[in-house]
Amino acid sequence: MKAGCSQLQPVVLILIFNLCFYGSFQLTGPQVCELCGGSVLNGSEVGKFCASSAGRINGRCCFQNNNTYGPERIIGLDLSNCSLTHVEDLQEASKALMIDLSLNPLVNISDAVFQGFIELNHMILPQEIFCPGGNTSWEKVEVNEGNRICQGQKDVCNQTGQLSIECPENSLCGPYGPGFFECSCAENYHGYKCLREGEFPALQVFGPLGASTVVLSFLLWFTQRRKVKPL
């Protein structure tokens, strides 16, 4: 019974979290699209990409509704010519396939900004900025008209020759943005450090235990304590 509660609790928490998060999301829209004025231009890379994938442009973002359920996700982010000197939080666009940061006076960008950007496949950066995760994290890196273009994010887990990435026991390596990997629990494993395997068969354990306790208590009371005289 308690075991059920423990599994229910995270579900409820996530539900509340989602309600709050998406509630505010619907009202104001993602802030990342308002980082600077204007909207995605039709001629830009992101604009072309958005048109080809039937996206909807809103501010600096290209949205795509994945029909089934849930809110729209940002598939493209065009922050070019935005006078950005630093970039810190782009997490709202973590599902993006394309990000354009060209024509900004950026000095450097931490790799951690793109942690978790699993689907990011095309980046346009000012020439001075290196591709996140280094050149080894991308299929193709080229410099073109003052822009650095990073294409085709590589999966760090399957690379050979690189320092081998070993996830701890019971977990598997998976991509987690350019240069990053995550260790997610292998099948059947869950919980902190993936230490737990399977679900505890509460009914099979406590059912017989409870039944035998009742039977044994009654049997012993009947044979032993029934005729006890109070001392």
Binding site: K193, F200, T213, R225
Partner: protein, 500 residues
């Protein structure tokens, strides 16, 4: 009444059997949950710490799976804390033993036993399961809960020994108690089995299962246990006191005491044949704590047990670690091998109890066994790197150390709590058992610290020398009793010869 084949056992009814089994399994369940704690230590310390980092490599992602728990910085600190919890437990257990014995002699033993079992089950549930479900990791909470657990668990041992002492008279006591005191070792084996079979679902389920089983045991005890033959109208000694096996007058004397002492100190005249118990309808008075401490034999046996329990519990806590550390054997192999120490202890306790029953004296058996134990320790410390030889030596060491240890904590405690000097106040069993085991637990608690200290500073060989010295110490403490008992035996033999 089921027919029992052996003449030695024919005096016993089915009530005896049930009392034996219920008290036996009460302590089995208790020790099983104790063993569970030592077997899930690795999982618990993994739960309390972030993942270890190798060099400059970035921490594993996602953080909530690998990095979020920071109760301790690394597993080494968690292990230190778990060791501290062991010591905290043993100290509060020792203090609790002094108290709960006194309570057990005044309140119904069944209630105290049931309260101890169910209460400690509830505390273990909170400690291991509830904190994990609610994700509350707090060292102070853990410490408080473990102190409480020690206090509650301490209620059980004096009560089960007292109930056993009520049901089983002096004559067969050595053997019956020797067999019965296997409960701790059986509990270790059961605990290891339970923990290993549910540990994969998470350590919280190991705690859940052992605590629920323990709670169920408490409920069964509440409904099924007869604390004394008096409850069903059987008298104590007519059932068990005068055994047909032994006709020697000496066997009816308390096994540990000496007449001169008692005449001087208590002024009670010593009878060579034990009188029947006092009338049933007269409610017995309970003994005071200090009074119990001053009973003949209690202090020497307590001190001897402190030395011996130190060695015994050091084996309980440190043996698997020593085996994997010193010989490089796998943890599972080491766990399996360490069972042989328990096996030796079970056989040792039973055989030595039986021998002491037939001799009519306990101290000489103890002294001989302890002297051999010193030899066995020397032998074990020089064991070659071979699992079979090691297992044999381990069983021998268990036989000579675990045997006397089981005997003092059960049969001798019961002897001491039912001795002649107590004629007027019968309810001393739980108090005396509490004192003997409590003093022993203080020794064991201090020993855990000393062993880790000696091991880290001077190495394992010195740890064994320390064990040998401690075993020698327990011989020294029982020497006065040994001299008295040997002298009494000598005199009886002379008297017998003169009669013939």
């Amino acid at each position: 009444m089921p027919p029992l084949h052996c003449g030695y056992l024919s005096q016993y009814t089915h009530h005896h059997l049930v009392a034996f089994l219920l008290t036996f399994f009460s302590y089995v369940l208790l020790h099983a949950s104790r063993k569970t704690f030592s077997n899930v230590k690795v999982s618990i310390s993994a739960q309390w710490t972030p993942s270890p980092q190798n060099g400059s490599a970035p921490p594993y992602s996602p953080g909530e799976t690998w990095e979020d728990n920071h109760l301790f910085a690394d597993e080494k600190q968690a292990t230190l804390f778990l060791g501290a919890l062991d010591s905290i437990f043993l100290f509060s257990y020792a203090v609790g033993l002094y108290l709960s014995g006194v309570i057990g002699d005044r309140v119904n033993l069944r209630y105290v036993l049931c309260f101890g079992l169910c209460g400690s089950a509830a505390v273990e549930f909170v400690f291991g399961t509830l904190t994990e479900w609610l994700k509350i990791y707090n060292i102070y909470l853990y410490c408080v809960l473990w102190v409480l657990n020690g206090l509650l668990q301490s209620a059980v041992w004096p009560c089960v020994v007292a109930v056993m002492g009520n049901w089983f008279g002096k004559t067969g006591r050595g053997f019956v108690f020797g067999l019965w005191s296997a409960c701790a070792s059986v509990g270790n084996i059961l605990g290891a089995f339970l923990a290993s079979s549910v540990l994969k679902y998470g350590y919280e389920y190991a705690f859940l299962v052992t605590s629920v089983v323990q709670f169920a045991g408490g409920v069964v005890v509440f409904f099924g246990l007869l604390t004394s033959p008096k409850e069903v109208g059987l008298s104590l000694e007519s059932e068990t006191g005068l055994s047909p096996v032994e006709t020697d007058t000496d066997s009816h004397r308390p096994l540990m005491s000496d007449e001169e002492d008692e005449v001087e100190v208590y002024g009670t005249r010593y009878d060579s044949v034990q009188q029947p118990e006092e009338p049933v309808d007269e409610p017995p008075r309970a003994i005071g704590f200090c009074q119990a401490f001053c009973l003949p034999g209690v202090l020497p046996y307590s001190l001897a047990y402190a030395c011996l329990k130190l060695v015994n519990y050091s084996f309980f806590f440190w043996l698997p670690f020593y085996l994997s550390n010193n010989y490089g054997w796998k943890e599972a192999e080491a766990d399996r091998l360490s069972v042989w120490y328990d096996v030796g202890g079970i056989i040792g306790g039973t055989v030595q109890g039986l021998v002491s029953d037939f001799m009519g004296k306990r101290a000489p058996v103890l002294a001989i066994s302890l002297a051999l134990a010193m030899g066995a320790l020397v032998g074990y410390s020089r064991s070659p790197n071979d699992q079979v030889i090691n297992a044999v030596l381990l069983a021998v060491t268990g036989f000579f150390i675990g045997g006397p240890s089981n005997m003092i904590s059960s049969a001798i405690s019961a002897d001491l709590g039912r001795q002649e000097a107590l004629r007027g106040s019968q309810e001393a069993l739980a108090t005396v058992t509490g004192i003997v085991d409590g003093t022993g637990s203080i020794g064991a608690a201090g020993g855990q610290y000393l062993v880790s200290l000696i091991e880290s500073k001077l190495g394992w060989m010195r740890v064994f020398y320390f064990f040998i010295v401690m075993t020698g110490g327990s011989i020294v403490f029982i020497t006065p009793l040994l001299i008295k008992e040997v002298r009494a035996m000598w005199r009886d033999r002379h008297a017998l010869r003169r009669q013939l």
